[in-house]
Symmetry: D2
């Protein structure tokens, strides 16, 4: 009876490993292919059916508690624990730590894990474990990474602040100063994702340790703050388009003279930017591939809808309507080319590191969420009322997807970065075109042609009129 969950083709089930784009195949090991197929089966057969169960367990926990909000956030949906156990049994655990940088992971490359993340994006969650694995001291790893890798506790990364434009991280205001061998933190953070969960025991916090440093990228540090440290207050949970995302949640947290030992510092004072950069590169690839998965899921639901025999506006099933078929086709095209872009960025990271792939990562950071929004919007529209309601996964996918255009820097930041980076070639190209035009003039002479534009030579050279 497992077949129907996996059917994806009129001819039956074609495993994920056989649907890898041709260009990406040389980059995928046999072991990764096997794991990929296990991931796909696990997601389609066990995770997706459990999604509504998860939502309902939280809802009922809220209704059962005297405070709905407390009930929702204190809930421990048992279906998740069961799935975790199952994932461990299947060997699907901590696959995301790329093999060329981490010994703690499952030994897959970013590209290989990316392929798996696409399927996880049809259900999943995220993680800050890269930070510990990449930059943690042995003591930090022992204390926090182990229980994290075991799924016993959770962590939250606290960077965004409500009162400044923290998309430009040089703007953050939370302060930390040294008193004795302790650091003292003051300020506030929001969009602390995961902070709602009672098992979220450790915060990774960015703050300004050296606010007057003339190098704006050396003013920040990243430090570990246990969630139960005195002075830490979770004020409220933020909602995303009406969803509270309980029990995970997005916290708004203040720090009032919060003291932590200096051994909690990650990598060293003033090296906050380094930590953030190292975390964001692969993380963005994982986000992007999950978004690809979310888009594929939206397209699947879209296709299911237009083939519903009960839905026949104007006497014809929706799959006969050209408007719908055009939207299906554009979705197919956009998803496929976005996936290749993400896999290419992943391969670039695997080849070198996140820094070498800055351009490629920024490109998919902009391209993918925007594509996802378009595909989701078409699917929602095909479902009408059901599309915006709790009866399809689309509304929640949309809300989560929408934040992808904001988190880790809004689109505009990356667009400007890409634009400015590309523009560095501008002057060089201008000179090349001028040189080509000079050669054209020589050829005109050689071939005895009339040059009609005596005033306008070297227009891209900024040449003034020489009359």
């Amino acid at each position: 009876m497992s077949v129907p969950y996996l059917m994806n083709d009129p001819k039956g089930y074609i495993p994920a490993s056989q649907r890898i784009p041709v260009l990406a195949r040389p980059f995928v090991s046999e072991r990764a292919k096997k794991t990929l197929d296990i991931v796909e089966r696990f997601v389609e057969e066990e995770c997706i059916p459990a999604d509504a169960v998860f939502a309902q367990q939280i809802k009922e926990a809220g209704e059962a508690h005297s405070s709905n909000i407390v009930g929702r956030f204190e809930s421990h949906p048992s279906v998740i624990e069961d799935l975790k156990k199952r994932a461990k049994e299947l060997g699907l655990w901590n696959m995301f730590l790329p093999k060329n940088h981490f010994k703690e992971g499952a030994g897959f490359s970013n590209l290989e894990y990316g392929l798996m993340a696409e399927y996880l994006g049809k259900s999943g969650t995220a993680s800050n474990m890269e930070v510990f694995a990449k930059y943690g001291t042995q003591a930090q790893k022992d204390k926090w990474l182990k229980p994290l890798l075991n799924g016993e506790i959770r962590s939250a990364f606290l960077m965004t602040e409500p009162q400044v434009a923290s998309s430009d991280a040089t703007n953050i205001e939370m302060s930390m100063h040294k008193e004795g061998n302790e650091w003292v933190l003051n300020g506030q953070k929001w969009w602390s994702s995961g902070a709602g969960d009672k098992r979220c025991k450790i915060y990774i916090v960015m703050a300004k340790s050296d606010p007057t440093n003339t190098n704006k990228h050396k003013q920040q540090s990243v430090i570990l703050v246990p969630a139960d440290t005195p002075g830490v207050t979770i004020h409220r949970m933020l909602s995303v388009m009406g969803f509270d995302d309980a029990p995970h949640g997005h916290g708004h947290i203040s720090f009032d003279n919060v003291r932590v030992p200096e051994s909690n510092m990650i990598l060293g004072a003033g090296r906050g930017f380094e930590v953030v950069q190292g975390r964001l590169g692969p993380g963005r690839i994982h986000h992007a591939m999950r978004s690809i998965g979310s888009a594929e899921k939206a397209l699947e639901w879209f296709l299911a809808r237009i083939n519903d025999p009960a839905k026949k506006p104007f006497g014809e099933q929706l799959s006969k309507h050209g408007i719908q078929l055009e939207r299906v086709a554009r979705s197919r095209i956009e998803i496929d080319s976005a996936r290749l872009a993400v896999l290419n960025a992943a391969a670039k990271i695997d080849e070198g590191d996140a820094k070498a792939a800055l351009k490629e990562i920024a490109e998919v950071k902009v391209q993918v969420p925007s594509m996802l929004m378009d595909v989701l919007d078409r699917a929602i529209q095909a479902y009408g009322g059901a599309g915006v309601s709790q009866d399809t996964p689309l509304a929640h996918q949309w809300a989560s997807g929408r934040t992808m255009r904001i988190v880790d820097g809004p689109d505009e930041v990356h667009i400007l970065q890409i634009g400015r980076n590309e523009n560095k070639r501008g002057d060089t190209l201008r000179k090349r075109i001028v040189a080509q035009q000079e050669k054209t003039k020589e050829l005109y002479k050689k071939y005895g042609l009339k040059y009609e534009d005596p005033l306008q030579l070297n227009r891209v050279n900024g040449g003034k009129s020489k009359l």
Copy 2:
């Protein structure tokens, strides 16, 4: 002094072979990389400066002749002959015949030639030689393919007809019937590209040989018609957005009892669709990669413009304007992901054949020209009046690029094909979602949850209300 033509990076010249996307690298041989770099140099250093010379030679030939039109179309711009000679010297000749299907070619794969075609797209022309090489008899090859490969004559492919929707080739009306051992053709064709050139000696013509065959894809044949056969009349040349594309040209041609021997048949009567499909697959990849090259060139001119020190609206160089930088960034993103899609389609053809890559080819057929239009439009807009005039290559690139959304089937044909093909999965996916929902119901029971939607079960199953 050759350096400036090649500069493409603030640090100097980075050869094309080092800029191949990571994903594509395993598919490119060392020999192809070397040739690719030669192609790039040849295009940037010799072809691009000659483009304006070519245009001016035609213009002056028109002015020198008593009939401007005749003069333009009879011109043999000597700069082209010189470039051909140079290309042959450099070993750049007939590179486009893919190695796994042809012995006549230069031995490159579709992907490898695709990379080169990107550069050729900054100047280039196309070809029908695949048809001869792939489907021609030895006699046909001897008579026509040799002089074609030597560049002595040219050919035109005549498929489109003005009076029907020939985007769906089953609609073509030109007839051919057998009389003795001759085929007799009647009808008309237009958009016969290349027919303007006096050296265009041979037409490859699609016509209906068996109009009543119940299989609509067996009614057509493809046959060779020498241009000077009695009954063939070129009525006029069509323009593209005001450009006549002389001397190449786009002809409108009628056939009035045109007789050719039956040995001129390609592949066999009734096999016209096969011939067309075999020609179009790789051809579309080449078109698409040339379009990528055209887009890169447009972006280069765009960047050159916004760095022109003489252009400072509102006191600031255009490269400081956020509106322009956003357009640069979006162009960068769109080109890069389109290129990966084309290379993936090329690799898919190389792996199997054009038929196996139908989906991928159709996708890039839609994606790439539309992307090219967007990038060109932004560049044109940045140049203002110069952008639409003869002073930049952009206007002509736009006109040629616009036809790419039409030739070999307009976008809509491919969109519907992709949509319908994708829709084949619809019923399967619907069943999968239903199965997942059934499992959800079981899990609700297992976890003791309340199912809130008794009326709405299996909504995508078309289930009626059971009240």
Copy 3:
């Protein structure tokens, strides 16, 4: 201290009546202008500040009740009752019943009320009272319209059904049959907006009374069903992108042998389409103008954000970023032209009736919600995390606005209707162009010119080749 709420211009307060587009001015009475200014003040000074209060009262009612859901939907936010009283004092009550069709209303035209609705769209709610006022018998009016007009009870219009494509209302399945002098209803409805409110006492229900009538538009009737009739069950409340819209709510309701007297019939059996059409025309104008108001509010918040002195990514306030200014400008352009389109449609209804304005109404039904989505998306993006959260009104505006592309027929239905209607002119225009081309041929002769296209005459006439 009332000034700041109204400031809308650097020079201070310019009342709404002075900002009416020039084209619309001849259509607005002095009395309507005065009321418009009162509406604006009331909305900006009293309603908008109360919006968050309303949300918080519902939230706290949910937390205070043992069931959060019941608590939310049973809440009677006192702030709303206070605002109602205030509105009555100001004479702002039941303004929406257009003067040329109703005596119960405040005597304004659709265009005049439309101008007011724009401001109400910055806070408001909707109504089904048109149906009673327009089609109700005196007995029906006495029983239901009076308490509705007094705001003592509420109503819900039940048309949409989950299991069919009810966007095409000929598809609805809920049945009604006569037994004695009673009608018996069976079936289910959803998206019964307003049904969550405990004061919602009366449903206006569309069902099939004559399912075999050969005229598909005569099979339906609209009938009144008191909410407490036996057999009526509210199963659950639907959410919109995560918002439950309590206490108003969107119900999913089943009817199991629900009996109502025949005097509850509206207008007469088989006349359901007439009722729906009469309701939808003006209703769509009101929706559209409220959406214009929502878009203006989004733009106001957008402008407020980019002028926040604390938000300076890359060292420059957002209002200096060209990307943001472009989005502001495009929003301004799109809102202004959409408003004119709605006012023109309103004037067309005022001049004749909703039927005469079918084209104009359908156009704004498509144009306005899509415009609203674009403006909201830009504003949300400028706010980053705050934009999707409960800290701005934008997320909830987006969710509500998104449903406007679905309710009263999804975009696609109206697009096809407009397209088909416009297409009725197609054959006529084709003939006109042919006639013009025939005249061109005569002129060619008259002026002694060469006609180059002998084969292609009357191309749009479908003429075949005449060779």
Copy 4:
């Protein structure tokens, strides 16, 4: 036999005066309505059939001359002279000078003439006569305006310069200095539209007379330069997407010590900006309404095509294809709302002057050409090859329409102007929202609610955290 040219509705001919949007009707006199209907008949019955004749006369003139270029530009297509005569007979002459500013015109308002310009946009040309009529001295009017109004001579407005960003007119470099009672001009201009015509006898030239004036808008003057003044050289004609627009043409002209008497100054030295502004306001409205007409024509051709019985891809006429109907519908919506925007801007000018309508004019300057491009692109695509060729008017319409996004300032200039203007309200709106939030806080207290966001007060006020 005149009927078919006018048919525009399945029911026959509905005159233009009966199709005026409801909102605009109060602004149109009976006399204007009558003229409007005459204009429509004249355009549909006489001008449109003559369009191809005009093109062919120029083409044949080119072929008949030893130099094609000279032949084309020296041609005087007799069909135009015949149409002029006919227009004068019908009383259709110089209708564009608005009644509230000019006594020389036909006495119509900008809105009234705008309605006529829509029809003229299906064939027409433009004019600089406003400048003479509005700012000319009596002597200037006697000498130039009279023969212009009689159609005996033509004029060209010379503002754009190739070597600077002259979209910002403060950047222009052409100089003029006083020597005795003469002004001496030096520099170059391009895009001098109309300068190709041999009857173009007078240039209206903008140059810098006071380049060091601290007020950047007082440095320029506008002066009359007869085309045959020594030192004036027309170097070449610019093409637009391959069209040379002969004999009108777009000239590239240099000025080498060109001397004109000081009586040729318009309005006074240093008042060039005033002249330009006064010309551009109504001129932009006329351009915009002609573009509306061009879009309507494109839609008409689009509709004609999809109803061509000979065009049936996939066995169904194009008018049955949902993709095409969606494009028709979107075109209809976009044209209708753009027209209202232009008419509203015209009414605003009529009410006050161009300065009072700056916002509205800038909005339509951006909105209309972009809408026109979209509508044309859809029509071109439906025609396939015919759409880009000389066989439909669409390609030339596209080329001309594309320049509308550039002339009189490119889109970006107007977008920034609108954005900055709108942004002036930003700080005011921010304060208003803060005041509304303060009131919300008071209401929270009044209603006994919990304020959850102690840290985040006055977020749009730029308030810092107060912890």
